[in-house]
């Protein structure tokens, strides 16, 4: 291995490559010609004001919408629209937490978490059960295994959905606004869970959010999108952007409210 590879964290190989991606709905283009990499093992936050196309980019990255132009590669393999032949390899590598949680309402929490495990592995039922328990314990839902999603509070649903997203120990976890609509404590708990997964399993995390506090806590790097430019307007470490950004839109975002300015989080 060469010297600079050893010294430089950013030189670890990209696990996701987004290349000249143009996405939109019908004739309306939301993002034009976007390119960036996500490195193995990093936590990348995608920021931007509402309506700038964060969710759209997110959906294109996991293959839920077809790009108008450009490609997304995960681990060197091109991401195809999910139902048109996405390879099982990619599907297993990726866990997704949707904005609304998207738990299956007819299944109990345990069944929800067991669903991807049963789908993709041949583990015996006893092991599946243990695994489900571990995952639910990890998000603090021990004892709630047999409840239906509708019998839970919003925060608990979100955490259960997180347990389902990480059921297979995916290499990459995608989060769409994990803390939307949650109290600060639950939201901080989710941040801690994200950090723990990232540290213990080396999971790469892509997280869409506009919670400044959580960005500063969890993200190694951020990219910021803008509605008018339809592209990335800033990229870098969150602290660096917060301290040194000159672009007014970035400054506004990071310094919009003094209450959020709590100094470095350790």
């Amino acid at each position: 291995m060469s010297e600079d590879l050893q010294s430089n964290h950013t030189a670890s190989p990209p696990i996701i490559s987004v290349r000249n991606l143009t996405v939109g709905y019908g004739d309306e283009i939301v993002l034009r010609d976007v390119s960036f990499d996500v490195l193995q093992g990093e936590v990348l936050a995608i920021l931007g004001r509402s309506g700038c196309g964060k969710s759209t980019l997110f959906k294109a990255m996991v293959g839920l919408i077809e790009p108008i132009q450009g490609e997304v590669y995960i681990d060197g393999e091109k991401v195809l629209p999910v139902l048109e032949g996405a390879s099982e390899k990619i599907l297993r590598k990726v866990g997704v937490l949707f904005q609304s949680g998207a738990l299956f309402s007819s299944m109990t929490l345990a069944e929800n978490v067991a669903f991807p495990i049963r789908l993709f592995t041949k583990l015996a039922e006893r092991i599946v059960e243990r695994l489900v328990m571990l995952k639910l314990a990890e998000v603090g839902l021990t004892g709630k295994e047999r409840l239906l999603p509708s019998e839970l509070s919003g925060g608990m649903q979100k955490r259960a959905a997180l347990a389902r997203a990480m059921a297979l120990d995916p290499k990459i976890l995608f989060f769409d606004e994990p803390s939307a609509g949650l109290d600060p404590v639950t939201s901080a708990e989710i941040d801690q869970t994200i950090l723990r997964i990232n540290a213990t399993l080396g999971t790469t995390v892509v997280i869409v959010t506009h919670e400044l506090h959580s960005i500063l806590t969890v993200a190694d790097r951020v990219i910021m999108l803008d509605k008018d430019e339809k592209n990335i307007i800033a990229a870098g470490s969150p602290w660096e952007l917060k301290e040194n950004a000159r672009d007014q839109r970035v400054v506004d975002f990071f310094n919009r409210s003094p209450a959020d300015d709590r100094g470095p989080v350790r």
Partner: protein, 405 residues
């Protein structure tokens, strides 16, 4: 500490040396060893090394169980120092091994657990309060409890239904008493949806029903040379019974089901609560216009159904019984009384109220998610069919014994 352990302890450091710690699940399908060594006379040490992932966890477990149960020892140590990749499935099988050793009354300890694996989960803490069977359906309570709960359910249901009917009637009276305050354009849209959109299917089905009635009657009446009476049979039975009932069933399937699904979904997404906190009574806002809409639309649809049915009868009469349309309609004119048609329309007015009420009621009873909405829709249609049939029977008796118009 060996170099490998260092990797496990500090993923970031390992990454910077260019050798990824985490292998992707696909290239880690093989590559583990489980190997037991006697340590003391009563102690066995089991070394796990290599990769433990979702793909081979089943095999690892089998080997571990074999190693642990081979000779009953007092103490079993599982040494994880040589593990390179270990995911949650590894943690899951360790939990399972704890259960196995508990049954054998051996004591199991994990030793040299790399920090990274330890932070996967505090197994030792977790395995004590494992409640097994979390993936099994909830146990059924015993029969007595079920009967008791059934009775309570019935009671709650009855109270719900009566409250709902009360509230709906109150809202209706309110609206009808002050038509100036009614949102006519909303009502009109609902009438359009429940009424106009149903015209094609109602016309078609009723026409066919007229044909069928005429055809079946023709077979019998021809034997007596009483051909012309086919007009009596078709027109009276369509206007009194088949028209109103058939139309009501179609509308129950269309609008009743739709109302249950709409209001049920609104209930799930808290839209109903949103109305409440704005000070809007959801029953008045959602239910009363729907009842009015169906109650207005259904008699109109029934009238169309009556016409289509009689026309259907005419067609069959002309082709299979050689009755001219003029003769047919003359006969219809002679036997069909205005009150017969009116009776049908009065019935369909009542049917309309029932269909909308049942649909909305089932919608309001939704608790939970998508599945519950589906159940509400089904139940709206089934309940409607039942109630419509019962009401029809009551009307039959009423019209027979009651005062004639």
């Amino acid at each position: 500490m060996s170099e490998k352990e260092e990797h496990l302890d500090a993923p970031a450091a390992a990454q910077s040396s260019g050798e990824p710690v985490i292998r992707s699940a696909d290239d880690s399908a093989k590559g583990y060893t489980v190997h037991a060594e006697d340590w003391h006379f009563d102690e066995v040490r089991v070394y796990v090394s290599g990769t433990v992932s979702m793909d081979n966890a089943e095999h690892v477990r089998r080997d571990l169980v074999r190693a642990v149960t081979a000779q009953p020892m007092k103490n079993v140590l599982i040494d994880l120092s040589k593990v390179e990749y270990f995911d949650s499935s590894g943690a899951a099988i360790l939990l399972d091994i704890f259960r196995v050793t508990d049954e054998l009354h051996t004591s199991l300890r994990l030793v040299n657990v790399p920090e990274r694996i330890r932070s996967l989960r505090d197994f030792a803490d977790l395995d004590r309060h494992i409640e097994s069977g979390i993936l099994q359906p909830r146990p059924e309570p015993n029969l007595l409890i079920q009967i008791g709960e059934g009775m309570l359910q019935l009671h709650r249901n009855t109270v719900d239904i009566l409250t709902f009917i009360g509230a709906a009637v109150e809202a209706l009276i309110h609206d009808v008493a002050r038509p100036g305050k009614l949102k006519w354009d909303r009502l009109w849209k609902l009438v359009d949806k429940a009424g106009s959109d149903a015209v094609p299917i109602v016309t078609l089905l009723s026409f066919l029903m007229g044909c069928i009635l005429a055809f079946q009657a023709a077979v019998q009446l021809r034997k007596f040379g009483a051909n012309i009476f086919v007009a009596d049979l078709v027109s009276v039975s369509i206007c009194l019974e088949m028209g109103p009932l058939l139309t009501a069933l179609i509308v129950a399937g269309r609008s009743g089901a739709a109302y249950a699904a709409q209001i049920g979904t609104m209930q799930v997404t808290e839209e109903v609560d949103a109305l409440r906190v704005m000070g809007i009574d959801p029953i008045r806002y959602l239910v009363s216009p729907r009842i009015l809409a169906v109650a207005l639309a259904l008699p109109c649809l029934t009238l169309i159904a009556d016409l289509a049915g009689i026309l259907g009868g005419c067609l069959v009469a002309a082709f299979s019984l050689d009755i001219t349309p003029v003769g047919y309609f003359n006969q219809v004119h002679k036997v069909l009384e205005f009150t017969d048609v009116m009776k049908g329309l009065i019935k369909s007015f009542v049917f309309g109220i029932e269909i909308a009420m049942i649909g909305c009621l089932r919608g309001f009873q939704v608790r939970g998610g998508a599945e519950s909405v589906g159940a509400a829709t089904t139940s709206a249609v089934v309940t409607s069919i039942f109630i419509l049939t019962v009401t029809d029977a009551v009307f039959a008796v009423l019209f027979y014994y009651g005062p004639s118009f």
